[in-house]
Amino acid sequence: MSARPASPFARFALVSSALVLVALILVLPLISVFIEAFRGGVQAWFEAVSHPDAVAALKLTLWVAAIVVPVNVILGVVAGWALGKFEFPGRSLLITLIDLPFAVSPVVAGLLFILLFGRRGWFGPWLGDRGLEVIFAPTGIILATLFVTFPFVARELIPLMQSSGNEEEEAARVLGAGFFQTFFRVTLPNIKWALLYGIILCTARAVGEFGAVSVVSGHIRGQTNTLPLEVEILYNEYRTQAAFSVASLLACVALVALVVKALARKYSNERHRNDEKGVR
């Protein structure tokens, strides 16, 4: 990382204006979440986050992430292989379709699942006859979250798998490696940072999704309420401090994920100093 020739003053101006932007747009909101959360002291914060409804919401949220993230990882890697390693007509359309959930308003995303599985939806009567609950139940929340987070892993992997080329894999094949051996020994090490980054973003979004989940959850407290919905409920009950306490848990999830990413990169850089290129 060598700096380009620039006067110390220009450099200082650049760095500080970037920092001011980051501070105004990102840091201040983050800090204010924690200030509001601890306004009533640590005791009040702890009471808010250990309330049975908050704990139930936390469990549901983690459970949703524990299902959605692995599914996205598998689908993302498979999609990365098909769309990153091969050229064929229609490829750019498929990539756009994977991107599409980014472009769907979360509110609309929730509506889609109502239209599919709601009582008057396409599969609603069929499910109703069999007593199966999808919408207004954890299943519906999982499906809506899967839709919203679908692009995250694949979107990170496809460009990287394309740009890293096929030569290494082809060489491995020539040397007699099987498909899985090639994948785990050659491809995976090349994409692991992009994969990790995708997993982190996917996890963060799965945990924090509000709009889509709000439409399909039914808001039954202690049953179909996720953490972000619990925040909204508490806020609407004029319990601002409790709302921000629960929100601070979500901010912590975000921060922990980011620290994991930073540590993993650092650890790996120390082990393979020459492995820097193509990181991320």
Binding site: A3, L19, P29, A79, F88, L100, F113, L160, S163, F179
Partner: protein
């Protein structure tokens, strides 16, 4: 030729069909079941048109601001190491992770008339909360990571020696930026812009708190979708949603075509 295309492509197409296309087809069917006249009527009211204008304008404006700020931040993060850089780098993803409702409430608290930043700004005669400006602010927050994260890897791959060589040959800073950097950055920059735009166009949770929701003035299109749903008008909601979706889809498709077109042997820039 590597193995695994049929299987992996099959799984990918199946996953896209089930996870993305099946749900979206309900929207198309719901809209398709409307008569052409009803569809036009749902969209033609001045209120709906005003919300489209606002949503498009705010999403474009926010994407532009996020792209400009994103370039500056990405540049500094890659080229100018400073103490705490890793921390700042990690923070960039915060908007992805923070639930949009929390972001909305927090931004309104900060920039509202009695907030830490809102009060001094109001003293200067600048109103943020409950104006289109507030909507843009919320969307910049949502869009910033898209811009930074798409530019960062490309900047990291750029070799400063090329710029130094250009400088040695007598190129001005402006020329270096326009002739050397911009062509390389442009695809990633546009990607970040389009993603921020597409996300901003549909954003709801963070905006409703800070926008004020005044019809004809600060009412965004996704809020109108909610309004239509409140009135049991699913078809009307679907009509607005379809228009928003079509705009985002065309934008993303154009972007992916452009990326494919500008791809070079060393890989597509992201």
């Amino acid at each position: 030729m590597l193995p695994g295309l049929p299987v992996s492509l099959g799984v990918t197409v199946a996953a896209i069909s089930l996870v993305v296309l099946l749900p979206l087809s309900t929207l198309v069917v719901a809209t398709g079941s409307m008569k052409g006249a009803a569809f036009r009527a749902a969209l033609a009211s001045p209120r709906v048109m005003a919300s489209f204008t606002l949503s498009l304008g705010a999403a474009l404006g926010a994407a532009a601001v996020a792209s400009a700020a994103g370039l500056l931040i990405a540049w500094v993060l890659v080229r100018h190491p400073f103490p705490g850089r890793n921390f700042v780098d990690s923070l960039i993803d915060l908007p992805f992770a923070l639930p949009t409702a929390v972001a909305g409430i927090t931004l309104t608290t900060l920039y509202g008339p009695s907030g830490w930043l809102g009060r001094p700004l109001e003293a200067l005669g600048i109103k943020v909360a409950y104006t289109p400006f507030g909507i843009v602010l919320a969307l910049v927050f949502i869009g910033l990571p898209f811009s930074v994260r798409t530019l960062q890897p490309v900047l990291a791959d750029l070799d400063p020696e090329v710029e130094e060589a250009a400088a040695c040959l007598g190129a001005s800073r402006r020329q270096i930026f326009l002739r050397v950097l911009l062509p390389k950055l442009l695809p990633a920059w546009l990607t970040g812009f389009s993603l921020a735009f597409a996300r901003g166009l549909g954003e709801y949770g963070s905006v409703v708190f800070i926008s004020g929701n005044m019809p004809m003035k600060t009412e965004i299109a996704p809020l109108l979708i909610m309004t239509k749903l409140e009135q049991y008008d699913t078809a009307g909601a679907a009509a607005i949603a379809t228009v928003l979706l079509a705009i985002s889809f065309l934008m993303l498709l154009a972007l992916n075509r452009f990326e494919a077109w500008s791809a070079n042997p060393t890989g597509r820039a992201r």
